[in-house]
């Protein structure tokens, strides 16, 4: 009655592999139903998110388990389970054992992702599955070769971690594809998204021609980060790639306290702040729509130095001004009060510096260096983070647009692909302001100007849905909130099935990855961010940290210039 183990007609199923079950129904859109062979595989053996292969006649399919279900041929089994019937107690579990796997059985829902032709050339390439196997095709746990066939290494591929339950195999990301479109890294706090993001950034530095600009809110990416679970420090990008990463800071004091030597200090002129920036900060500053809008009237009144002059007004002057420019008094007072708190922002410089704030950063980016901007103490102030990243990004984006247009006109080189990295993205990309901020613009215009976003967030539901659906690749660690899970999957294929996988991620060290950079959705246990990883990134194991080991001549010169003529 049972089919023999392994359809061996093509010899492509490794001998001795235990068959999990057989395909008994389903569809390409809904996923396939696989009845478990209870004599060989139990529901407890198959985790949601793990990989299986389905041996068709001419194709081998790779699929992800999206659900496990207990089923019975007849409802009687549900109403009268064997052990509850009088007289059955002494049968030594005979009836239960007989019924298990026959009229009561386990069923998997699997989603076919990739397929590879069998019997063809040895190096057959796995492609998106456009067909499904026939009835009763045998299903096996995926082997390491299967994983390798799907996540075949290309130039520039990056080993992110192991698929669920297969520690010996590696899932590779196509970093070029990753940098090509915007990327989202999500996860509740403490799920490891910072590590995941840092690893992706390291991969970008190491293996692509793209440059990145990292708005480092908690100062975790530049010099060193914290591994709270193990209570140790881990190397930041600057330590891994001293010659390719440049750190700037808004808070020199803090950087020095942490033992880091920033390559530059960023100062932003009051005159660089535009009323549009205030609109973006509406939520962070807790301003009403009316109050935020008065910034435009104030700017029209004071022209260039509007912010400085407005902040210098006394309370009485504000009252006068309200009458003069015809705005609601209390709205103007609120705006004034909130902006006064900016007096504490040490990075706001009095005198106009033109484009100087962004200039140093742009110069580094154009030279192919990655830039980490550490916020130091200002990272704890959302308004400061939003203000600075929004403002700098706007400037940099303007430059990139100009370069790109020149290049299109045959005058100059294409600007380098630029990845802008922001945390707490829901502060910039809420539905009501996403249309106004530069980040919303970048997300929507895709890579027209060679600029993409990498957003890291713990509350994806707060991000504009249009922006979410533009993300090319999404990596999500565990999320607790239903709305967040739905938001992460927004606009993706096979949403219903992935939802189930996403909901069951471990609370640490597991991420669902799907989109452009991977051939099919996969649950990954990210690799350890440790000495092995450092070594792979090119840092000798056990190397002294704290000195710029691989400082090039050009860098040394730059450093000395900076020391002699401080950037500010």
């Amino acid at each position: 009655m049972m089919l023999a183990d392994g359809f061996s007609s093509n010899g492509s199923v490794a001998a001795g592999r235990r068959r999990l079950g057989q395909v008994v129904g389903g569809s390409l859109s809904r996923g396939l139903d696989v009845r478990l062979d209870n004599s060989r595989a139990r529901t407890e053996d198959v985790a949601v998110g793990s990989f299986v292969t389905i041996q068709g006649r001419s194709q081998r399919y790779f699929a992800v388990v999206t659900d496990v279900e207990l089923r019975a041929v007849d409802d009687g089994v549900r109403h009268f389970p064997p052990a509850l019937e009088p007289g059955d107690i002494d049968d030594g579990g005979f009836i239960a054992e007989v019924i298990a796997g026959t009229v009561a059985y386990g069923q998997l829902s699997v989603m076919p992702g990739m397929a590879v032709s069998i019997g063809g050339p040895q190096q057959a390439i796995a492609e998106q599955a456009k067909t499904i196997p026939e009835h009763f095709a045998p299903v096996y746990p995926a082997s390491q070769e299967d994983i390798d066939a799907v996540f075949r290494a290309h130039e520039g591929d990056f080993a992110l971690g192991s698929p669920q339950g297969m520690d010996a195999s590696l899932v590779r990301l196509d970093l070029a594809a990753l940098a090509n479109r915007s990327v989202g890294v999500f996860g509740a706090s403490g799920t490891g998204k910072t590590f995941l993001a840092r690893m992706l950034l390291a991969g970008l530095v190491k293996q692509t021609s793209a440059v990145s600009l990292i708005f480092d809110m908690e100062s975790e990416y530049g010099w060193q980060g914290q591994d709270n679970d193990r209570g140790r420090q881990v190397k930041g990008l600057k330590q891994l790639f001293p010659s390719r990463v440049v750190t700037f800071t808004l808070d020199e004091e803090s950087s020095r306290r942490r033992g880091a030597t920033p390559d530059g200090v960023v100062r932003i002129g009051y005159d660089e702040v535009e009323p549009a920036d205030i609109e973006v900060l509406r939520e962070s500053l807790n301003l009403s729509e009316v109050a935020a809008a008065t910034a435009w009237n104030v700017a029209r009144h004071f022209k260039e130095r509007w912010l400085r002059e407005f902040m210098a007004l006394s309370a009485a002057d504000v009252g006068e001004l309200a009458g003069e420019i015809g705005v609601n008094l209390s709205a103007l007072q609120t705006l004034h009060r909130r902006l006064l708190s900016w007096e504490r922002f040490g990075f706001l410089a009095d005198e106009s510096q033109g484009n100087a704030s962004a200039g140093g950063i742009i110069e580094q980016l154009e030279r192919g260096n990655h830039v980490v901007l550490e916020f130091g103490q200002y990272g704890r102030n959302t308004a400061a983070y939003v203000l600075v990243s929004n403002l700098l990004t706007r400037r940099i984006h303007e430059t990139w647009v100009r370069r790109k247009e020149l290049a299109d006109g045959g005058r100059g080189d294409e600007p380098r692909p630029l990845v802008i990295f922001v945390e707490e993205a829901h502060k910039f990309l809420t539905p009501d302001i996403a249309s106004q901020t530069i980040f919303g613009t970048i997300a929507r215009e895709l890579r027209k100007y060679n600029v993409t976003l990498m957003i890291v967030d713990q509350r994806p539901s707060g991000i504009d849905s249009e922006v979410m659906s533009q993300l090319g690749t999404r990596l999500s660690c565990a999320l607790n909130d239903d709305r967040d899970m739905n938001a992460v999957l927004m606009g993706a294929r096979d949403t219903g099935q992935l939802r189930n996988v996403l909901a069951r991620l471990d609370s640490k060290q597991q991420a669902l990855v799907f989109g452009h950079a991977v051939p099919m959705p996969v649950v990954v246990r990210p690799r350890d961010y440790d000495e092995t990883f450092y070594a792979e990134m090119g840092v000798p194991s056990g190397a002294m940290v704290g000195t710029a080991l691989a400082e090039s001549d050009a860098e040394r010169m730059q450093r000395e210039i900076n020391e002699l003529f401080p950037p500010e």
Partner: protein, 197 residues
Amino acid sequence: MKEVRPGQRLAEVTASRTQRVEAQCYRAHSAPPLGSLVRIGSPPIYAVVLEIRHEPLDPTRPLAPRGADLETEEELYAANPQLDAVLTTRFTAAIVGYRDSAGIRAGLPSLPPDLHSFVFLCDAGDLSSFGGNFEWLRLLLEERSPASDTAIANLLRQAADTKTDSRKFLIGAGKALAVELSSEPHRMRALLREVGG
């Protein structure tokens, strides 16, 4: 009731149809028990005992009680030696398999056994090789009577006794039964209780 031994010849076919065999035992009260596997003729046809009848040889001469003044049943038979000649035991067996050049097969032979074919009680060897697959279950399950279900259970337990791992055999048989009876859960339960009990 008299003991019958495995391998013993005990009856002859008195009527046969494609699925059924009627046989009459050589001696009254010497029938193979319900669910016994019997071998009929040569090349052998296999059948399972489904019904046993002890009755007068001549149906036109019904029995009357004879022991009103006697103490025991043995005295009754001793006082009436003619009974051995006028009483008989007949049984019905369902055909479940046959032997051809390829070996023992489950299923129905193309012809039923000839009349007067000898009927043997199967021995452990036959039971063991016949128990190798459960295709014959389907034929017996079609009988749908309490007697046929008990016959199935008895036969499975006898076959299990010939196996080194009898529980494993019974679990396998139970699974085959469960699949066949998936649309009749109550009957399945009852039968499984008989098999496993």
